[in-house]
Amino acid sequence: MRTPISFFLLLSAVLFTLGTLGVLLRRNALVIFMSIELQLNAVNLALVAFSRQWGNLNGQVLAFFSMVVAAAEVVVGLAIIVSLYRKRRSADVDEASLLRW
C-alpha cells in the first residue's frame, strides 16, 4: 500500500467537520442524528488508519466497539425522536426547548 496514512486522517478530519456542521446547521432532528453518525464514521476511519499505521489491531477493535455502541445509540436516539415527534408533531430541535429558563 502506497497511500500515506495522513491522507486518511485528513479525509477523516474533513468528514468529521462536515458532520459537525450538519449538527450545527440543520434543524431536523433526524438529519442531525445522521450527521452524528457521519462524525462517528469519520472517527472510525481515523481509528482504522491508526491501526494500519502502527501495525496492530487495537484500532480496528476500537472501531468495532464504536460501531456496536453506535447501533445502541441509534436505537435509543430514534426512540427518543419518535416519542418527541408524537408529543410535539415536529422533529425540529429548536422547538424542543422545554428546558430553557
Binding site: L24, S97, W101
Partner: protein, 634 residues
C-alpha cells in the same frame, strides 16, 4: 467457580451449596415471574424446591455419616471480601450441629409450605407469599450452613428481612405493617451489637472462620471473652426475642399463621440459640457470660410463662410460650448443656410448629377468629385438629414419653447437675407455668361449651397432612435423645460439644425425671381445676383479679414502658428538631443561601437558550480552543 479446590482430602459427593440453591432458585423465579402463575401451581413449585432441599440435606447427612470421620465438611466457593488483610470466603460447613439445624429447618419448612398451599389459597399475592417463604428458607440455610461469622450474619439479616416482609405480608392492615416495622427495628438493636461483636472477633483473631476462631477461643482473657460473648448474645437476644428485646414477637403474630409457625416458632427465632451454641467456645471462656445467658433465659422463661397465662388471643399465647421455651433453650445453653438445648430446639420446632398450624387450622375453621373467649368445645367439630393439638399440648407440658418431656427434662436437669439448686427450682417453676398456660388454652379452646355461633369445620387434607406429620414427630421425637449422655442426638453432636459427662448432681436422673413429670401433671391439674372441671366460674375469677389479668395480658407493661420511656421522648425530640430547629434555623439558612445563589443565577441563566444547536456550537468552540492550545504547544 472452583469448589472446594483447597480441600482435596474431603470427598463430599454433593457440594453443600446445592442445599440453599434450591430455595434461592424458587425465590428468584417466583419473584421475577410472580404474576404469571395461576392457581396453586406456584405453591407446589415452591414446596417442591424446599422438599428438594430437604432431600439433598439428607444426602449430605448420608455423605457425612459415610465419610472418613472428619469433624466437618467445608466447601469454599470463592473469596468474597478481600480488603487488605481482611479476607472472607463464601464457604459452607457441614458438621453435626449444622446438619441437625438444616434438617430441622428444611423438614419443617417443607411441611409448612404444603400446609400454606391451602391456608393461603385465594390470596391475591399467593405466589409472592411463596417467594418470600422460599427466600426465607434460603437465608436460614445460609445461616446454619455458614462457615464464618460474616456469612452467618448475611443469613441472619436475610431471615430478618424475610421476617419483616412476611409479618407485613398483609400490609394493607395497619397493625400488620406496624408489627413488621417493630420486629425489624427491635431486632436491629441486637444485630448492631452482633455486628460490633463480629468486628471484635476480627480484631482479636484476624479471621472470621469458625475453625480458626473456635480453636483459639480458649486463649481469650476472661474480660475480653465476656465482652465478646455478651455482644454475640445481644444479637441472639434480639433475634430470639428474649428479655428485654422480646416485645416484637407477640406483635409479629399479625403475619399469616404459617409464617408464625415457620419463622416465629420453629426456625428463625431459634437462630439465637444456634448462635450461642455454635459459638460456645467463646462463651465457655467466660463464666460470667454463661451465667448471664442462663439468667436471662430463665427469667424470660418465667416472665413469658406468666404473660402467656393472661393471653386471650390464641396466637399471642403461643408467641409468649415460644419466648418462654426459647428462654429454656438459652437456660440450657447457659448451663453448658448444649446438646440438650439443641434437642429442645428440635423438639420445640416440631411441637410448636404443630401447635401454630393447629391454631391456624382453628382460625381457618372459624373464619379468622383468634380470641379464645369465643372458642370452646371445638373437639367435636375438629377431631383431627384436636387430637394433633393434644399431642402437641402434652408434649409441651412435658408428659412422658412425648418428645417435650425428654428435651425439657434434660434442660431442667442440667441445672441440677451443675449443682445450682436455685436455678433448678426456677426451671421447675417455668415448667409448671408451661403446663398451666398450655392446658388453659386447650381447655378454653377445645373443651366446654361452644362460645361462638359459627359452624366450624376441620382442616382440608393437605393442611391435615402437615399436622399429622408434625404431631408424629412431636410424639416420637423423644427417641432422638432418650438419654442426655448417650442418646442418638447427643452422640451425634458429640464431635461438636465434646463428650457429655455422667451426671454428678445431688439428685439421680430418675428423680429428676420424676420431679419434672410431677410438675407437669400438677400444672395440668391446676388448669383443669380452673378451666376444665366446671367447678370454678373462671369468667368471674377473671373480673375479680382484673388488674393481675391485664398486667399479664399486656406482658407486664414492658411495651408500655418502652413506648413511654423511649419512643415518646424520641418522638418529642424529633418533633422539636423537625418543626422548630429544622424549619426556623436550618431552613432559614438554606433559604437565605438559596436566595443569594438565585440572584446570581438569574444573571447566568441567560446563557441557557434551550437550543441544542447553540450548546453544540459552544462545545465546538471549546474543542477548537483546546486543540489550538495543543497545536501551539507542540
Amino acid at each position: 467457580m472452583v469448589i472446594g479446590a483447597d480441600l482435596p482430602a474431603i470427598n463430599s459427593a454433593m457440594p453443600i451449596w446445592i442445599v440453599p440453591l434450591f430455595p434461592l432458585t424458587g425465590a428468584l423465579v417466583l419473584l421475577l415471574t410472580g404474576r404469571r402463575w395461576r392457581g396453586l401451581l406456584s405453591g407446589w413449585f415452591a414446596s417442591f424446591l424446599v422438599g428438594a432441599s430437604f432431600v439433598s440435606t439428607i444426602v449430605l447427612l448420608l455423605d457425612f455419616l459415610g465419610g472418613d470421620g472428619e469433624a466437618a465438611l467445608v466447601n469454599r466457593l470463592y473469596q468474597w471480601v478481600a480488603a487488605g488483610s481482611f479476607s472472607v470466603d463464601v464457604a459452607f460447613r457441614v458438621d453435626p450441629l449444622a446438619l441437625v439445624m438444616a434438617l430441622t429447618v428444611s423438614g419443617v419448612a417443607t411441611l409448612i409450605h404444603i400446609y400454606s398451599i391451602d391456608y393461603m389459597r385465594g390470596d391475591p399475592r399467593f405466589a409472592r407469599f411463596f417467594a418470600y417463604l422460599n427466600l426465607f428458607v434460603f437465608f436460614m440455610l445460609v445461616l446454619v450452613l455458614a462457615n464464618n461469622f460474616l456469612l452467618l450474619f448475611v443469613g441472619w439479616e436475610g431471615v430478618g428481612l424475610c421476617s419483616y416482609l412476611l409479618i407485613g405480608f398483609w400490609f394493607e392492615r395497619k397493625p400488620a405493617a406496624d408489627a413488621a416495622k417493630k420486629a425489624f427495628i427491635v431486632t436491629r438493636i441486637g444485630d448492631s451489637a452482633f455486628l460490633i461483636g463480629i468486628v471484635f472477633i476480627w480484631l482479636r483473631f484476624q479471621s472470621l472462620d469458625f475453625e480458626v476462631v473456635f480453636a483459639r477461643a480458649p486463649e481469650l482473657a476472661a474480660g475480653t471473652a465476656t465482652v465478646l460473648a455478651l455482644l454475640l448474645f445481644a444479637g441472639a437476644v434480639g433475634k430470639s426475642a428474649q428479655l428485654p428485646l422480646h416485645t416484637w414477637l407477640p406483635d409479629a403474630m399479625e403475619g399469616p399463621t404459617p409464617v408464625s409457625a415457620l419463622i416465629h416458632a420453629a426456625t428463625m427465632v431459634t437462630a439465637g440459640v444456634y448462635l450461642v451454641v455454635r459459638a460456645h467456645p467463646i462463651f465457655e471462656a467466660s463464666e460470667v457470660a454463661l451465667t448471664i445467658v442462663a439468667t436471662v433465659g430463665i427469667v424470660t422463661a418465667i416472665y413469658a410463662g406468666l404473660s402467656a397465662i393472661g393471653q386471650d388471643d390464641i396466637k399471642r399465647m403461643l408467641a409468649y410460650s415460644t419466648i418462654s421455651q426459647l428462654g429454656f433453650m438459652f437456660f440450657g445453653a447457659g448451663m453448658g448443656a448444649y446438646s440438650a438445648a439443641i434437642f429442645l430446639l428440635v423438639a420445640h420446632a416440631f411441637f410448636k410448629a404443630m401447635l401454630f398450624l393447629g391454631a391456624g387450622s382453628v382460625m381457618h375453621g372459624l373464619r379468622g377468629e383468634t380470641d379464645m373467649m369465643r372458642m370452646g368445645g371445638l373437639r367435636r367439630a375438629m377431631p383431627l385438629t384436636f387430637w394433633t393439638w393434644v399431642i402437641g399440648w402434652l408434649a409441651m407440658a412435658g408428659i412422658p414419653p412425648l418428645s417435650g418431656f425428654f428435651a425439657k427434662d434434660q434442660v431442667v436437669a442440667s441445672a441440677s447437675e451443675n449443682g445450682r439448686l436455685w436455678f433448678w427450682i426456677a426451671a421447675l417453676v417455668g415448667s409448671l407455668l408451661t403446663a398451666v398456660y398450655m392446658s388453659r388454652a386447650t381447655f378454653m379452646t377445645f373443651f366446654g361449651r361452644p362460645r361462638s355461633e359459627q359452624k366450624p369445620h376441620d382442616a382440608p387434607p393437605r393442611m391435615g397432612l402437615a399436622l399429622v406429620v408434625l404431631a408424629a414427630a412431636a410424639a416420637f421425637g423423644g427417641i432422638l435423645g432418650l438419654s442426655a449422655v448417650n442418646g442418638i442426638l447427643p452422640a451425634f453432636l458429640e464431635p461438636v460439644f465434646g463428650a457429655a459427662e455422667e451426671p454428678h448432681g445431688p439428685l439421680t436422673v430418675l428423680a429428676l425425671a420424676l420431679a419434672s413429670s410431677a410438675v407437669a401433671v400438677v400444672g395440668i391439674g391446676i388448669a383443669y381445676l380452673v378451666y376444665g372441671s366446671g367447678r370454678i366460674d373462671w369468667v368471674a375469677l377473671r373480673s375479680r383479679f382484673a388488674g393481675a389479668k391485664r398486667a399479664s395480658q399486656r406482658g407486664f407493661y414492658v411495651d408500655d414502658v418502652y413506648t413511654g420511656g423511649l419512643v415518646a421522648p424520641a418522638k418529642l425530640g424529633s418533633a422539636f428538631l423537625a418543626y422548630v430547629f429544622d424549619r426556623r434555623v436550618l431552613d432559614g439558612a438554606v433559604n437565605g443561601l438559596g436566595r443569594i445563589i438565585g440572584a446570581f443565577a438569574g444573571r447566568g441563566r441567560a446563557v441557557q437558550t434551550g437550543r441544542v444547536r447553540s450548546y453544540a456550537l459552544a462545545v465546538l468552540l471549546g474543542v477548537v480552543g483546546v486543540l489550538s492550545y495543543l497545536v501551539v504547544r507542540f
